[in-house]
């Protein structure tokens, strides 16, 4: 789960990392009130779960509360890379003398946390890694030993940080960032930029924080930070119904059991000339309620022209899925043609049940490939 900048900063602050004081605002009036409370020059920052806010006009300075209100009005509602701005973070403006970069991530290849630090901050870190790799200090932490102070020293000296006062502050921040990373079960804690003010104070001007969904049970306060309204409305509906669903940009609605099989189904649809409308995993279930819930989510997408069920019965029995499909069709009106492919445990029984019931516009296929071809064909017939 990705957090907004201000949420990440709240967690940073709890770990003792210096951040600027600020307020959340969801309207120009609230932005004005926030600026009044904070006093002086403020920055109005769009809160969206994507990069490139500055270039898109999502970050603006304001000298007065009136100006903050005006800037907030301009930023709210902006579409930044498909994310509509609905929240703002208004914080005290900081003068910037230098911009550094600091992060700790989950290196799945090495199975260890990885620190990265460079004094060339404020830009895309991938650029630094490519153009001046010697400027980027990288260091793994042994998970069973934990962070050790020498690691912060090594990062500072290797990156060429020379000012003793800055070194001291950065070393403290490195230690605290590791604390936050472990304590909040993060997959990523990134500070870009980590700034030095003209007065020599080091602080986090931005935050990128990704929390591990599997560990949210340990962190109810972090779990509550999820902005359910930011997701695609269908993905939100799916979450409510406990259906694993990802919206894609095509016309073939897809349901399957098991993430790998569904991914493979999307690929096969693409190979036979169709475009998948979604990823939808029924998981281990295939009961009527599960099928109804998934169909409700999939058919709420207007782009969908036809639906493919790709089920490989293992523990899930195909006759149960067939019963689920028939019950679902009895409970709801589906205007889309449906192609069903059942294979594996009790596949013959399941197929026979569907053939016997013969609901209109339902086609039974035996293999993944033939089912994919069929559903693309019926979808095209509908469009033409």
């Amino acid at each position: 789960m990705d957090l907004y900048e201000y949420q990440g900063k709240q967690l940073f602050a709890r770990a003792g990392i210096p951040v600027s004081e600020g307020r959340v605002a969801t309207s120009p009036e609230e932005a004005r009130a926030a600026a009044e409370e904070l006093g002086g020059q403020v920055v109005v920052k769009a809160q969206v779960l994507t990069g490139g806010r500055g270039k898109a006009g999502g970050i603006k300075l304001a000298e007065t509360p009136e100006e903050a209100e005006a800037r907030a009005g301009e930023i709210l509602g902006l579409d930044i890379r498909g994310h509509v701005v609905r929240r703002l973070w208004v914080e005290k403006a900081s003068d910037i003398a230098k911009e550094y970069y600091l992060s700790v991530t989950f290196d799945r290849g090495e199975k260890k946390p990885l620190f990265m630090f460079t004094t060339q901050g404020g830009v895309d870190i991938e650029e630094v890694a490519v153009e001046s790799p010697e400027a980027l200090a990288k260091l793994h932490v042994e998970p069973l030993v934990g962070f050790q102070p020498w690691q912060a020293r090594w990062l500072c000296f290797t990156a060429g940080l020379e000012d003793p006062d800055e070194q001291k502050q950065v070393m403290a921040i490195v230690a605290k960032l590791y604390d936050a990373f472990v304590h909040f079960d993060a997959m990523l804690c990134e500070v870009n930029p980590l700034i030095v003010t003209p007065e020599g104070e080091v602080k986090a001007l931005d935050s990128k924080f990704t929390a591990d969904d599997n560990a949210l049970f340990r962190h109810p306060d972090v779990a509550e930070m999820r902005d359910v309204e930011a997701a695609d409305p269908r993905e939100r509906l799916a979450r409510e119904k406990d259906v694993t669903y990802v919206k894609l940009d095509g016309e073939i609605g897809i349901l399957g059991n098991g993430a790998g099989l569904v991914m493979a189904t999307l690929d096969v649809i693409d190979q036979v000339g169709g475009r998948p409308a979604n990823f939808c995993d029924l998981g281990g279930g295939g009961d009527a309620q599960g099928v109804v819930d998934a169909l409700e989510v999939i058919t709420s997408d207007d782009q969908v022209e036809a639906i493919l069920f790709n089920i490989f019965g293992g523990i899930t029995r195909c006759d149960e899925v067939a019963r689920g499909i028939l019950t679902a069709l009895g409970q709801m009106t589906i205007e889309h043609p449906i192609v069903v492919r059942l294979d594996g445990t009790n596949a013959a029984e399941g197929r026979q049940m569907l053939v016997d019931a013969a609901p209109p516009d339902l086609y039974v296929e035996e293999t993944m490939l033939s089912a994919a071809e069929r559903v693309v064909e019926v979808a095209k017939a509908r469009v033409n």
């Binding site: 560990a215 790998g260 991914m263 294979d343 490939l369």
Partner: protein
Amino acid sequence: MAIVVDRDTRLVVQGITGREGSFHATRNLRYGTNVVAGVTPSKGGMDVEGIPVFDTVREAVAETSPNTAMVFVPARFAADAIYEAVDAGIETVICITEGLPAHDMLRVYNHVRPRGVTLIGPNCPGVLSPGKANVGIIPAEIFSEGSVGLVSRSGTLTYQIGHELTQLGIGQSTIVGIGGDPVVGSSFVDVLARFEADPETELVVMVGEIGGAEEEKAAAFIDEEMSTPVVAYIAGFTAPPGKTMGHAGAIISGSAGTARAKKEALEAHGVRVGTNPTEAARLAAETVGARTA
């Protein structure tokens, strides 16, 4: 022969009195797996279909000498269960449970590796050696005895490819589901090395998916270290970056981890890659046919 589980497997099931645990322990027992014990704290003295239940793994080891543990306890207790099994001297731990926190797995992985313990999973369907032993939730009836090894990050996709192989008359030595999480106990390379050392395995089918760089590492390993041929399949060509496709590990971040990059890496190292499960099975059949001809 086979790898990871076979007729010498003596299994203890952690979480055996839970709904899933008892169902699958019983299924594995009926398949012919030597299930010697179960563990559920405070349920010691009970039995599940004749399998004795103990309070601790140490007790189960003292009484029944298991060499393999299957973990079925809920996610928040699963890391603890793995540590307990390793402490009791269990050599192979197969963790079926899904939803383990990634930081727990970091610590588990780094604890288990230097001890020489084989950890499979978490979030995996388990390991099946047809005709010998089944540890986990893999439906054995789809598979048949033979000489093709199968290793995969995904459950149902493995069943799909196994089914296609069986229909082509190709049996399997062992099917290993390594799991779909960002950190798993055994990687493709770990399992490929076991298959390479198994004289019964004549070919390996590797089923990968988007996310991470393990398929790329496997490509180099196959090229440099293996004489047993490998055929691959990669899922997720149409997956968009930044969206988790069901498995916690199946996410494309940045330019790394795409299906195309994995396919290219494998092909650059001489591994044939099927564009769909049917084609992967056909490539496997061709390779086996060419070797026996």
